[in-house]
Each structure stands twice: as structure tokens, then as C-alpha cells.
């Protein structure tokens, strides 16, 4: 697991490091047809001080896809012979059993099996014979949850992924990285000036973001493992809205060096700035389609901010949104089939999803101030910034609108979320 080193950077010397408060996750809505599963207490789990099974349960429950059935207090080991009839009478579809065995040097071997109750068969015969230190047990639990999720839904789970977001407290901005469940928050950067638009490199090793620490917006690229960072765009005027090309070699950025905000591409080292499009007004918020063919962006060239796309190599722009007078922040889904964006309707700014083949749209939230949507790498959930009780919170909604979560930190504003890619 990559540990993120705290980086004390220039002009931030007087900002002291503080223990980061953790995001608490609250489930505010769940899917209608949830899969009933039971996750038994693991044999031997009591010997480890860290939570394991409870993390697996919390992951699966939070996804909104599963209904957790009370498994009973007795631990069920990896090789236990399951009484399928008994579980079927309790209408359970999947049962997870497992064992934790101590190894040398304070490490643990963790094994589990997933039983398909209706088929009376093993879906996972031997999951994750995995030696981990106590420190790694949480990661082990997330990987178990990923395996279980994938076996039962046919799609990869995202419990091992990470998220980035910005926490604002009085006079202080922190760019934080946490596990997808909000645990293990680490500050990658702290500043007295705003930080916006963090976005993950496709390999998950770097973040690009906009920092105002030089009293103007400048685009940085930050290596998370080493804590090293470099300026990717610092031209005259504003430098903002970085977006990674799918091959991770280039960034689309918005520069004002030649007038109003326009989209350029630069190599990740900051060289080779090339203008991609031309409009008399504002072009901003570029985002590559996953296949790299298109760049979606926001432009007011038609008189109000709307979403357009152009071929990534440049060319004619095609308008994508037509309803209403304010459609911004386009985010293509990982499969490239839909587009999340923020739409203003009757004074409310709401997360909206468009099917790119039919161009049908669906409003996914009932909030008033949604911003910055970010797809989970499996496309199932969309993380976004919203407001609750006058404070910035993060929220997540499934792409069908049924599952809802709220992630907040006590007494701080949380904003600008970015969901990281799958962990290799």
C-alpha cells in the first residue's frame, strides 16, 4: 500500500500538520432489490486487534447492493460444512465464511469462502490466502469485499480504491487522500490558499490540481508516494481545470494566456502547450472520454454555459446539452456510455446523468448545490460535492439514483471530490 507522505511546501511552512478528521459515511438510500447475504464471524478473528469482518460488512452494506442478514454469533471457519437448507430457509443467497491464522513475525493468513446458497456450491473456493500485517488488514478486508461484490454482481468492486478531496477549515485548505470508505485520511498538501480540481492520473500514482498558493491559479502535478510535485502550467493569467489523457502522458488544461479561458494540452512535465480549440468566450472543464477520442468541456459560446465535445486532436465542436441555461462540469462514465454533469433548473444545481446514445437525461439528486461529480471506476456510483446544514459535504449516488450516501467531516467544509482508479 502506498503511504502518502505529508509534504510541507513553500509558503505553507507556518501551517502545521494536524491529524486529519475522518469522513463519516451515512447511508441515506439503498437499492430496491438487494442481494441477501450473511457474512459470518471468522474463526480466529478475535486474535487480531484490527477490524476485519466488520469492514467487509460495512463495505458491502454501503454499496446499497446487498442486504446483510444476521449471521449468528458463532464463528464459521473457512472449511466449515454449510447447512444450505438452513440458510435457504432464511432466504440468504450468499454466505461468507473464513478464518484468520497467525503466521510468524506478527502476520496473519486470512482465508475465506463464498457459498452460493441456491446452487449449494462454492462461488469462491479459496479467497485470498493472504498474509498481512495488522496494518494491512483493512486493505485485506476491502479486497475480500471486492471479490465478493464481483462474484455476486459480475462487476468489479471499488472498495480498495481511494478518493481525494479538499477540506476547508478556518484559513486552511487540505488536499486529502482517503480510502473509499473515508478511513485513513492523509494530507497530501496543506495551504492557506484555495486548492481546487484535484484529479487522479490513470495509474493512480499522481494527482493534478489547481493551487492558489502563488496568489493565482497554477496547475501542479503531485506524486503521492514521494510527495514530490512540479508545476504543470503557470502561464500569465489563470491556469486551471487539469484533465489527464487516458494514457497519462498529457493534461488538458485551461489557460488565459491568450485572452479568455481556452483549452490547451500540455505534456505532464509542463512542456509543449498547444491550443486545442478557439472560442470568443469561455471554454473550460475539459475531460477526456475514456477511449481518448473526445474531450468534453463547458463553453458559453452559445450564450449560456453548455456542454460540448471536440475530437481530442482538435476539430469542430458538437453541442451536447440543450435543456436549460446552465449545464456544466461534464464527466464521462468509465464505459463512455453516459455523461454526468451539473444542471441548473429553477435555481437548483443538480447532478444529472445523460445517456450519450439516446441523449436522455435524468436528475439523480434532490439537492440544491451539487458540484464536481466523479465516477467510481466501475461506473456504479457518482461521488459529488453538495451542501448540508450550510456546510460542504460529499455525497454519492448510484448511477440509477437509488443508492445514496453522505460523507461529512465534523465542523469542516469538504469539497472537490475525485474518485481514484482501480488499484492494480
Amino acid at each position: 500500500m502506498t503511504r502518502i507522505r505529508f509534504l510541507a511546501t513553500l509558503a505553507l511552512a507556518a501551517v502545521s500538520a494536524s491529524a486529519s478528521a475522518q469522513l463519516s459515511v451515512e447511508i441515506t438510500g439503498a437499492g430496491a432489490n438487494r442481494i441477501p447475504i450473511a457474512i459470518a464471524n471468522f474463526e480466529g478473528e478475535r486474535i487480531v486487534s484490527q477490524a476485519l469482518v466488520s469492514v467487509v460488512r460495512a463495505d458491502l452494506e454501503r454499496s446499497g447492493v446487498f442486504r446483510l442478514i444476521e449471521p449468528g454469533a458463532a464463528p464459521l471457519g473457512e472449511t466449515v460444512a454449510l447447512n444450505y437448507g438452513d440458510w435457504r430457509s432464511r432466504t440468504v443467497d450468499g454466505v461468507v465464511v473464513g478464518s484468520v491464522l497467525p503466521l510468524a513475525e506478527g502476520r496473519y493468513d486470512t482465508r475465506f469462502r463464498l457459498h452460493d446458497v441456491p446452487k449449494q456450491a462454492l462461488l469462491v473456493a479459496q479467497g485470498l490466502a493472504h498474509a498481512s500485517t495488522p496494518y494491512q488488514l483493512r486493505a485485506t478486508a476491502h479486497r475480500m469485499a471486492d471479490t465478493i461484490y464481483e462474484k455476486l454482481t459480475g462487476e468489479p468492486g471499488v472498495f480498495s480504491t481511494r478518493i481525494a478531496y479538499v477540506v476547508k477549515s478556518t484559513g486552511r485548505y487540505e488536499l486529502q487522500i482517503a480510502d473509499a470508505d473515508g478511513a485513513n485520511p492523509q494530507a497530501a498538501l496543506a495551504s492557506r490558499e484555495p486548492i481546487i480540481s484535484p484529479t487522479w492520473s490513470p495509474d493512480g500514482n499522481k494527482l493534478a490540481y489547481v493551487s492558489f498558493e502563488a496568489k493565482k491559479p497554477v496547475v501542479w502535478v503531485h506524486d503521492l508516494a514521494s510527495g514530490r510535485r512540479h508545476v504543470a502550467a503557470n502561464f500569465k493569467g489563470s491556469n486551471s481545470a487539469p484533465a489527464w489523457s487516458p494514457d497519462g502522458k498529457a493534461l488538458a488544461v485551461v489557460l488565459t494566456k491568450d485572452g479568455s479561458s481556452q483549452i490547451y494540452t500540455v505534456r505532464v512535465d509542463g512542456s509543449g502547450a498547444t491550443r486545442l480549440a478557439s472560442s470568443p468566450g469561455i471554454d473550460t472543464e475539459p475531460r477526456y472520454s475514456p477511449d481518448g477520442a473526445w474531450i468534453y468541456f463547458t463553453s458559453d459560446r452559445g450564450g449560456s454555459p453548455q456542454i460540448y465535445r471536440i475530437p481530442a486532436s482538435g476539430g469542430a465542436a458538437e453541442r451536447i446539452t440543450f435543456n436549460g441555461s446552465y449545464n456544466v462540469t461534464p464527466r464521462p462514465s468509465p464505459d463512455g456510455k453516459s455523461l454526468a454533469f451539473i444542471s441548473r433548473e429553477g435555481g437548483r444545481f443538480q447532478l444529472t446523468l445523460m445517456d450519450l446514445s439516446s441523449r436522455q437525461t435524468q436528475i439523480l439528486t434532490d439537492s440544491v448545490k451539487d458540484e464536481s461529480p466523479s465516477f467510481a471506476p466501475n461506473g456504479r456510483m457518482i461521488l459529488y460535492a453538495s451542501e448540508s446544514g450550510g456546510r460542504g459535504v460529499l455525497a454519492a449516488v448510484s448511477s440509477d439514483g437509488s443508492v445514496k450516501q453522505r460523507l461529512s467531516i465534523q465542523a469542516a467544509d469538504v469539497r472537490e471530490p475525485a474518485w481514484g482508479p482501480f488499484v492494480k
Binding site: 513553500l10 511552512a13 481546487i196 498558493e213 514530490r228 512540479h230 488565459t256 479568455s260 456544466v328 458540484e371
Partner: protein
């Protein structure tokens, strides 16, 4: 340790000030890789921006009775059109600047909190650009004026209603060396 710390901090502050003045020029990207300590030649650029403001200028800018004390131009939601009632402020500063080539200003564009942060950043930049264009039409030189944007990141009024929003949709004229 303390000496090292304060020296690093001093150097860091210097670098920020240097990065702050980006008026004119080709605007090439600087990409220091990892090493954030400014090179000696960067440190030599620590001079405060030269002010071409005379004592009389400063008095005129600061006198609350002077029209020059009004420095903000307000805008409608999602608009960067200077409204008729806002023109006088721009004209006053335009005339003042036109005769004083040594005086430099930064136009700081802002937006209210609603909508996209990045779009608001672009909107604030556009507001600052529009004020710059008008000032140049009135006879100021382009290199006297640098437009920058803080988008919706630095609201003047903290409320979440139209009263606050209307104060935050603006461009401020900031005189360097004032």
C-alpha cells in the same frame, strides 16, 4: 534548525512574491521538479513592485469623497457585461490610469458561490478581462493592467443569499504599491 527553518521560510515567501508578479512577457511555464528552493537569480527578483503613484495620487485613491475610492464593478449572475450603472467606476479609473504610465493595477475577478468552481474561475477571469478592455479603450496601456481571477474561492460576503452573492459577483481594481 531554527535558522534553517526561517531561511527556508523566507526563501519560500520570496518565491511566492516573485510568482505573484506575472505581468507582461511571454509567460513561459516554470516547472521546478521537486526542488522548491528558488535559485539565487530568482531570489534577486524580490523587489516590491515599483509604484508610479505620487502622494497626490495616493490621497485621491484613498479619499472616501473621491470617486477613485470606489474600486469594485458589480455584475449579474453568469454575466461579464459591465452594466450602465457600473460604467462610471471604470471610466474614473480609466481616466486616472491613462495619464500615468508608471502606475500598474491588478484586476481581480470574482464570482458568487453558485455553480461550478472552474466555470466561476473562468467567469471571474472574463470579468477582469472586460474591465481591462474598457480601461485600455479609455487610454491605459495594456501592460499597466493584469487581470486575474479568484473565481468563487474568495467571497467577500459569506452569506448564502442574493445580498451576499451580489457583493461577490465583482471585479476589484487593485493598485500596485498602494
Amino acid at each position: 534548525m531554527i535558522t534553517y527553518f526561517s531561511r527556508t521560510f523566507l526563501a519560500a515567501s520570496v518565491c511566492v512574491i516573485a510568482a505573484c508578479s506575472t505581468t507582461g512577457g511571454g509567460g513561459e511555464s516554470e516547472a521546478p521538479k521537486g526542488n522548491l528552493t528558488p535559485a539565487p537569480d530568482q531570489v534577486r527578483t524580490i523587489v516590491a513592485p515599483e509604484t508610479g503613484l505620487s502622494k497626490a495620487d495616493l490621497f485621491a485613491l484613498r479619499d472616501p469623497a473621491s470617486p477613485l475610492s470606489k474600486r469594485s464593478i458589480y455584475f449579474d449572475f453568469d454575466s461579464y457585461v459591465i452594466k450602465p450603472e457600473q460604467r462610471l467606476v471604470v471610466q474614473t479609473h480609466g481616466k486616472f490610469l491613462a495619464g500615468k504610465r508608471g502606475v500598474k493595477v491588478v484586476i481581480q475577478g470574482h464570482a458568487d458561490e453558485r455553480g461550478s468552481r472552474e466555470y466561476n474561475l473562468a467567469l471571474g477571469q472574463r470579468r477582469a478581462e472586460v474591465v481591462k478592455q474598457t480601461l485600455t479603450l479609455l487610454g491605459s496601456a495594456s501592460d499597466q493592467i493584469e487581470p486575474v481571477s479568484f473565481g468563487s474561492e474568495k467571497p467577500l460576503a459569506a452569506g448564502h443569499d442574493e445580498t451576499s452573492w451580489s457583493k461577490n459577483r465583482r471585479a476589484d481594481i487593485v493598485y500596485l504599491g498602494e
